[in-house]
Each structure stands twice: as C-alpha cells, then as structure tokens.
Amino acid sequence: MNLQGRKIQVHDMSLRDGMHPKQHQITVQQMVDIAVAMDEAGIPLIEVTHGDGLGGASVNYGFPAASDQEYLTAVCKAVKKTKVSALLLPGIGTVDHLKMAVDCGISTIRVATHCTEADVSEQHISMASQISGLDTVGFLMMAHMIPAEELVIQLKLMESYGANCVYITDSAGYMLPDDVTERIALARAELKPETELGFHGHHNLGMGIANSLAAVDAGANRIDGSLAGLGAGAGNTPLEVFLAVCDRMGVETGVDLFKAMDVAEDLIVPLMDHMVRVDRDSLTLGWAGVYSSFLLFAKRSAAKHGLSARDILVELGRRRTVGGQEDMIEDLAMDMARERKSA
C-alpha cells in the first residue's frame, strides 16, 4: 500500500465515544485538560458530547457528570487551534440541541443515523448546512449491516440534504479491511468529488488501524480515532498508534506524534475505569456485529441476573439490534434468566 504524500484529517473521539467506557462521568475539568493538551499536540478536530450525542442524558443511556452545554462551552473556550465537533442522533437529540451546540462554538456537527435510515437526518442536516461556516457531516452507523451499493444510496441522501462530508461508521468493529475498501471505494466513486469521506472504526477485532489505512487507500480523507483508544467496546482506532503508522507511511496528519503519545499515556490512560482493550466481551461485539456501547450494559445485566455477557451480546447480534436499543439489553437479560430458571 502506497499512501506517501496523502493528506488526511484525524478526528479524536476520546471526549465523546470515550464517554461510554467512563459511563459519561468525565468531568468538565478533565475534558478541558485533555482538550488543551490535544490542542498543543496539533490534533485538528475533537468531538465533545454525551456518548450518545446531544440530548443523550437519560436513564436509558446514562446521566453525564455535566450537561452537553457545560462541556462544550468550557472546551470551546479552552482550545486555540483545535476545532470542536458535536454528535447528534435524530430520535434522541433535536435541532434545538444543535442550535445550542452552535452557540457554544462548535465548528462541526455530525448527524448520525442507522445505516438504512438516513432520511430521518434531513431536518437536522439541512438546517445545519444553512448555518454559515458550519462543517456538516452525515454519519451512517452500523455500516457493516448492508452491502456497499445500499450504503451508498443512503450516503447520497445525506449528501443531498447538504452534508459536505459523509462517514462510514463501523460501530460494531465488525468490518474487515476488504469490507472497508469496497464501501469507501464505491462511495468515493459515486459521491460528488467535493464531498469529503470519512471512516470511524472500533477496535473490537483489532482491525482499527488496518481498516483506517484501507479507508485512506480507497479515498477517505477523514479518520476517527481516540488517544489510547478511549471509546466504546474495545475502543476506537487507537489514534497515537494510527499517527505513528501514518508517519512511517508518509501520510501527513499535521499532528505531533510524541505529544499525542504523551496525552494518551499521561492523561487518558490514568482516567480509565477499566483497561479499554480487546477482551472476551468486547471481542464478542466485533465477532457478532453488535453496537459497541452495549458492552457495559450487557456486563451489568449479566452480573445482575447470573448470565454471561457474551451470551447476551451474541443474542443481541442475532436479533439485529441497532444503536440506541440499550433498553433491550436488560429486557432480554430478564427473559434469558427466566428461561434458564424454567429449563
């Protein structure tokens, strides 16, 4: 693979996807400290929101340590060069949240839907695209669940609503490099040349780096990752590792590698409640194609009902659950516990 001279933009997820392994309890001060250090390392764009996006504060997904408004206001004020993005899932957050985030000073809004449901994002993407200077991104989650041809139809819907960039998102960390290549390459061929294309990976099968490289090779110019991999499941593509590989391959990111490594080691790792890594349960997510943020919910329900988290996750995959269905996990665990008892 020859990527010599390619320029890409990396986008750090630690302060949004990383909220999942922290059960949304990262404090405002911790966010500010990390954002400032990332700014100094030259990371161009970082995402700051509840793990499930704007308006995610809920019994279903977890109440965060502070509100989206508090996090965004503090981080946007603290950074100099680094830009800040927010995530919005229609059905959870609304355009009111979007306007609030814009008022806080975000430069990028990412509107996320399940890979087959792009048309629920029209309201939010079209509004965002009319806000002057707002980088508007469409984000198709669980993109492994449909073939490339169908995925591209959905990406084009988001493009037609006004997204200047669209993402293929491997929320379950299920994809293999060939899956990424096929999807990104077809999208690149079918989308307008000026529409940017991104890839968001999860490391559940240990494929974060390989998949991200495949994405760049096939035409993506934005890559998501998180320092020390702080993200749902086995984490996102570990960003400092990806940056080192990019450096070796001659891909330009504009990020200071050693400083990024230091942020990962000195600020992010000490923050972790548990080591975010490929283990039995996070590996199951990737193998079974399950939404990565289900991990801790499945572990909790398993412990409560004397079940195995792996059994719960495999069943959630079999039922083709999608992102946002966290409430299914406890419901399913209660059913499974009852069946065990009567068996």
Partner: protein, 302 residues
C-alpha cells in the same frame, strides 16, 4: 340496529384505511365518508369497495355533504401541515375533529388516562399525541397516579417499515410532542422521549420501555397493581398491548417493558405503533358518540 353517530375519515392512506376497517365494526360509529385528494388513490378505491362514499376533492369535497349526511365526527389521518385547515372547516359544520396527525392544536387525549376529561370539556378538536405517546403515557400515568413522578422517560423502538415519510421528515416533532405528553397527560414533572428505528426483517413488533423516577421510595405493591390495571384498560382497545417485564424497581427508578402488537386489520401486526393510534382515535370517537347518543353533548359550530 342501535343508532350510530355518522363519521368521515380524511386521509385514505394506511392509517385511514386501518381506521375505516376498525370503525366498520363499531357499535356506535358509522363511517360514511372517506376523503382523499387523488382520484386514483388505492385507498379511495378500497373505501368504495367497503361501501363508503368518497371524494377526491379533499375536505372541500366533503363539507357540502356534512349537514345532509349528519356527519358529527371527523378523523384527520393526513398530515400536520393541513390539519388546522381541515379542522376549522369541519368544526364550522358542527363536527368534532379527532386529530391523528402530530399537529396538536387541540388538547392531548390518551383514552385510558384522560378521555373522560376531553369529552367532559366538550372539546371540538382532540389530538392523539403520537404513537409512542399512546403506547407509553398510560404507563407513566399508572405510576404517577400512585405517587409523584419527577421524571418520566420513554424509549419507543419501531420497525423501519412502520415509519412513514411524514414522521421521518420531522422526527423532532415526535420526540418533542411525546415528551410534552409524558408531562401533561402522563403526569411526570419532566418528560423525555427517545425513538429508535430498526430495519430488521422480519420486522420487529413495537417495543416500549418506560422509566419513571419517583420523588419518594416507590410503593412497589401499589405501583405494580396500578400498572397491571392500566395494561388491562389499554388491552380493551389494543389486545396486543403486553407487559413483557416489570415493573422493576431500582432505588427510586421504576422500569416497565412493553410490546405492542396490532390487530392486523389493514396494517401489519408488527406495526403496533400505528394500530394503537387508530384504535385510540376510534376509542375517543366512540366515547364522544356515546355522549351524543345519550343527549349529553351536542357538537356545534363555535
């Protein structure tokens, strides 16, 4: 045959057709008109086959016939954008409007919770909130009638096939209106609504999770009894309204897990979210009809 109140359905789509099939079985409602805007609409053709008068000239095609046909109740199964106009026109002819769109210009109505209030207030326009609201607000109310609910949250998961283009274009309206209904009708001090769309095949049956946070320690026995009673009330008009798990208690949190299967009249069984709307709309109209038949209410133009 006992006397029935004559009704018109505006909007011959999936919802309107399902409503027509249910209304045909009613003991107090007689569907007389189906109103559309497209002469080639398959919904109008179906309605004609079922022996109902039709017009393809919209509400304006219905209005001249309302007095002579004694239409006293109309259902609007079109869209929020045209509802206010429709409602004004039929109200002027002295008919009550049951609004199945998200327009919500009249008071919210969730039959087992506040239908009697709406009828007692003699409202000429009542709104059916949202599908998620119909499925979940009775459960919030079942908890809040026992003790103070500071926060009520509902998660509605519906099959992709059961979510129409109107809802998709304005999904915020669903989350906002449902949250407002959780507060105003459910009785929660603060409401939150989440909708998740799942494209799995075969389509999944509508699922709803209801979380309530109570001000004081929940009275488990009283809440459990209240929830079961409320489930039985909803089952009177939606037999597939099923308590799957719960209520479960964790500190001050009460969680209820529901599944809502439809009757499968015109809409498929999995689309319990749509069925509960048409069933609730009909139930509302029947209550009005009983009041009219008993001489306690005479709908009239304002």
């Amino acid at each position: 045959m006992s006397k029935k109140i004559r009704a018109a359905i505006i909007g011959p789509g999936n919802i309107g057709t399902d409503l027509l099939m249910k209304a045909m079985r009613s003991e107090v409602i007689e569907p007389v008109w189906m109103v559309g805007v497209d002469p080639d609409s398959p919904g109008l053709a179906r309605a004609r086959d079922m022996g109902v008068k039709t017009t393809c000239d919209g509400v304006d095609g219905l209005v001249p016939h309302m007095r002579e046909d004694n239409i006293q109740i109309c259902f609007d199964a079109t869209s929020a954008y045209v509802h206010a106009d429709n409602s004004r026109k039929v109200n002027a002819e002295g008919a009550v409007m049951v609004d199945l769109t998200p327009a919500a210009i009249g008071p919210f109505c969730v039959p087992p919770v506040n239908l009697q209030d709406a009828v007692a207030a003699k409202a000429m326009n009542v709104n059916m909130v949202t599908c998620g609201g119909q499925a979940t607000i009775p459960m919030v109310a079942a908890v809040s009638r026992v003790q103070t609910v500071t926060y009520g949250e509902i998660v509605a998961t519906v099959s992709s096939r059961s979510v129409g283009p109107g809802t998709r274009k304005n999904i915020d309206e669903f989350t906002r209106t449902t949250a407002k209904g959780v507060e105003l009708i459910g009785g929660a001090q603060q409401g939150k609504a989440i909708i998740v769309i799942n494209p799995a095949e075969p389509p999944l049956i509508m699922r709803d999770t209801i979380h309530c946070l109570t001000a004081d320690e929940p009275d488990q026995e009283a809440i459990t009894r209240s929830v079961h009673e409320m489930v039985a009330e909803v089952q009177k008009y939606v037999p597939g309204y099923t308590l799957k798990n719960g209520p479960t208690f964790d500190g001050k949190r009460v969680s209820i897990y529901m599944e809502v299967a439809g009757l499968g009249d015109f809409l498929p069984r999995y689309a319990g979210n749509l069925d509960i709307m048409t069933a609730a709309g009909l139930r509302t109209a029947e209550m009005y009809a009983e009041e009219i038949l008993a001489g306690r209410f005479v709908p009239a133009a304002a």
